[in-house]
């Protein structure tokens, strides 16, 4: 293919500017010595100091990170297992499973959120009714038991929702790797005396790894960037960072939030640079080795 001319380069630059302009604004105004986000009032680090003293924001940050990490970890393990299970199924049940699996990915977030919220409310109510009924039964009274299975939405329902929308992405990322897998490899390991678990761990898992890592990254990105589903399933007690921002936006967002997002952005940027550098170094080493042999 032909290389890009000056015009296509300019186009790329403009679209990237469009994508990054709001982020630049946030970063610049996190150092602004004024409550306004439009007028420059001089350089300050006040918002960073205030951020460290803002309990609500830090708690929301903690919830966000905790739910994203836990959901990603659970989804990666469960999704990999499910993908292996799916690929061993016959065609018809597999297609049925894959169709249901794709529902959370294709459905609008708001529908996923609303439907899970209705389920949680419904289940909480049903369980509360059930425990109320249990408490009136003779044996519960005679055994002096008091049941309370009812629940409100909170961290657990938030986590369940995140796991539910993360798993499909992991499955979709792992399945192609399973398709490429040579079944003879695992057979060979078994013939050489490996147990099923060892064969899986030493032979199959390394082959699947790129897909699993890919799925993990997508799941984490989806979790940490999610607002809509969390908004409907977290209830009124728990709040993620996005929910905190949404509540703030109705008034005017304090620049502390700018400071926090700048920190998060820098953290992610550093992480990606490190990953990139490592990859580049590995590639160079591989090239040098290839030259030597």
């Amino acid at each position: 293919m032909k290389k890009n001319g000056i015009l296509s380069r300019l186009f790329l630059a403009l679209v990237f500017l469009f994508l990054y302009a709001p982020i630049l604004v946030l970063i610049v105004f996190s150092f602004n010595d004024s409550k306004s986000n439009a007028v420059w009032g001089g350089f300050t680090l006040d918002w960073y100091v205030q951020l460290l003293n803002n309990r609500t924001v830090l708690e929301a940050l903690q919830t966000t990170l905790l739910v994203s990490v836990l959901a990603t970890a659970i989804a990666t393990v469960a999704g990999t297992a499910a993908a292996i299970g799916f690929s061993s199924m016959k065609r018809r049940p597999r297609n049925a499973c894959l169709t249901v699996n794709s529902i959370p990915m294709t459905n609008a977030d708001i529908i996923t959120g609303v439907s899970m919220m209705l389920l949680f409310v419904f289940a909480g109510q049903a369980l509360a009714d059930f425990s109320g009924w249990l408490n009136t039964t003779a044996w519960a009274e005679s055994a002096n038991l008091w049941f309370d299975f009812g629940f409100d939405m909170g961290f657990l329902t938030l986590l369940i929702a995140h796991v539910t929308f993360d798993i499909p992405y992991v499955i979709v990322a792992v399945l192609p790797k399973l398709r490429q897998l040579d079944p003879n490899l695992a057979e060979a390991a078994l013939d050489l005396g490996a147990t099923r678990w060892t064969a899986f761990r030493k032979v199959v898992l390394p082959e699947l790894m790129p897909g699993i890592v890919n799925g993990l990254l997508i799941a984490f990105t989806m979790s940490i960037d999610d607002f809509v589903i969390s908004y409907f399933t977290a209830g009124s007690q728990v709040s993620t960072l996005s929910m905190y921002v949404y509540a703030q936006v109705r008034r005017r967002v304090s620049p502390e939030i700018n400071a926090l997002s700048t920190l998060m952005f820098v953290a992610v940027l550093l992480l990606l640079v490190v990953i990139n550098l490592r990859q580049a170094r590995q590639e160079q080493r591989r090239k040098r080795q290839a030259l030597r042999t």
Partner: protein
């Protein structure tokens, strides 16, 4: 390694947390609550839907415009990126995904500062002698917010499809005498269509159902489907039965649209994000 039972826990999970919620939505949509607290079967929820035809039309129109703009911006971007060599190309996916790591609400909200009456954009305009524009709190701002937020979902699948095109196919076309425009029109573009289709799905669905973007950038003036649904569940107009019915209708329309579109694309409906 063949063991289909290892998927059993997840199949159970899907039944409880994917299928059951949708059934609950269906039950809510088909019922109403009587004053005495009991539920009765009814089609009232759907009968009342006609009053929201304008909201449906506005949502689908704005989401449609946003999707078209995303194709117009995203396709050339993906194409040009795939023609780059070296650093920029290998980092392209990362550069496009990076903004997604910054809070979605904050990114959207910072457009308010850029577009405000006395914001950055208008200051720029008036400094070169042009009149100020009132962009914020219009439908235009809502479309801009949609394009901004969902453009990566258009670029990534197209980029991933184009980079996977076998170079020999292109060389073959060139050997047979095709010019660069002809190579694009007859080879690259048809082969990249599956990416465009999954991009369209991934931009249109979140756009048509958003309530955050219209709330933040539209000033709550132009009500969209998402706003309508949100209001029925967590807002002032609390009525989960009506909300479920609206969700259901929206879901069906979207599924039908996507079904028709994928028929055109010869059934290449698989989502390719990376």
């Amino acid at each position: 390694m063949r063991n289909k039972w290892i998927a059993a826990p997840y199949v159970g999970w899907m039944a409880v947390f994917v299928v059951a919620p949708l059934i609950v939505v269906l039950v809510y949509a088909l019922t109403r609550e009587a004053p005495d607290g009991s539920w009765y079967l009814t089609a009232e929820n759907f009968a009342g839907m006609a009053g929201y035809a304008a909201v449906f039309a506005r949502s689908f129109l704005l989401a449609g415009i946003a999707t078209v703009v995303c194709i117009l911006l995203g396709y050339p971007m993906a194409y040009f990126l795939s023609r780059e060599r070296g650093r920029l190309r290998s980092m392209a996916t990362m550069l496009i995904m990076l903004p997604m790591w910054m809070n979605f609400l904050l990114r959207t909200y910072s457009w308010v500062f850029l577009l405000e009456r006395n914001g950055f954009f208008n200051t720029l305009l008036s400094s070169i002698g042009l009149p100020k524009l009132d962009i914020i709190n219009t439908s235009g701002a809502v479309v801009l917010g949609m394009v901004y937020n969902f453009l990566p979902f258009m670029v990534l699948p197209i980029f991933s499809v184009i980079t996977k095109i076998d170079n020999r196919v292109i060389e073959a076309a060139q050997d047979l005498g095709a010019g660069s425009f002809q190579v694009f029109r007859r080879v690259i573009f048809p082969l990249s269509l599956p990416g465009v289709l999954s991009g369209v799905t991934m931009v249109f669905i979140p756009s048509v159902s958003t309530f955050v973007i219209s709330r933040l950038l539209g000033g709550g003036k132009s009500l969209l489907l998402g706003d309508l649904i949100e209001m029925q569940f967590l807002g002032a107009a609390y009525n989960p039965h009506l909300g479920s019915a609206i969700s259901l209708v929206m879901m069906v329309i979207v599924l039908v649209c996507m079904g028709i579109m994928n028929r055109f694309g010869e059934g290449e409906g698989e989502a390719v994000l990376l």
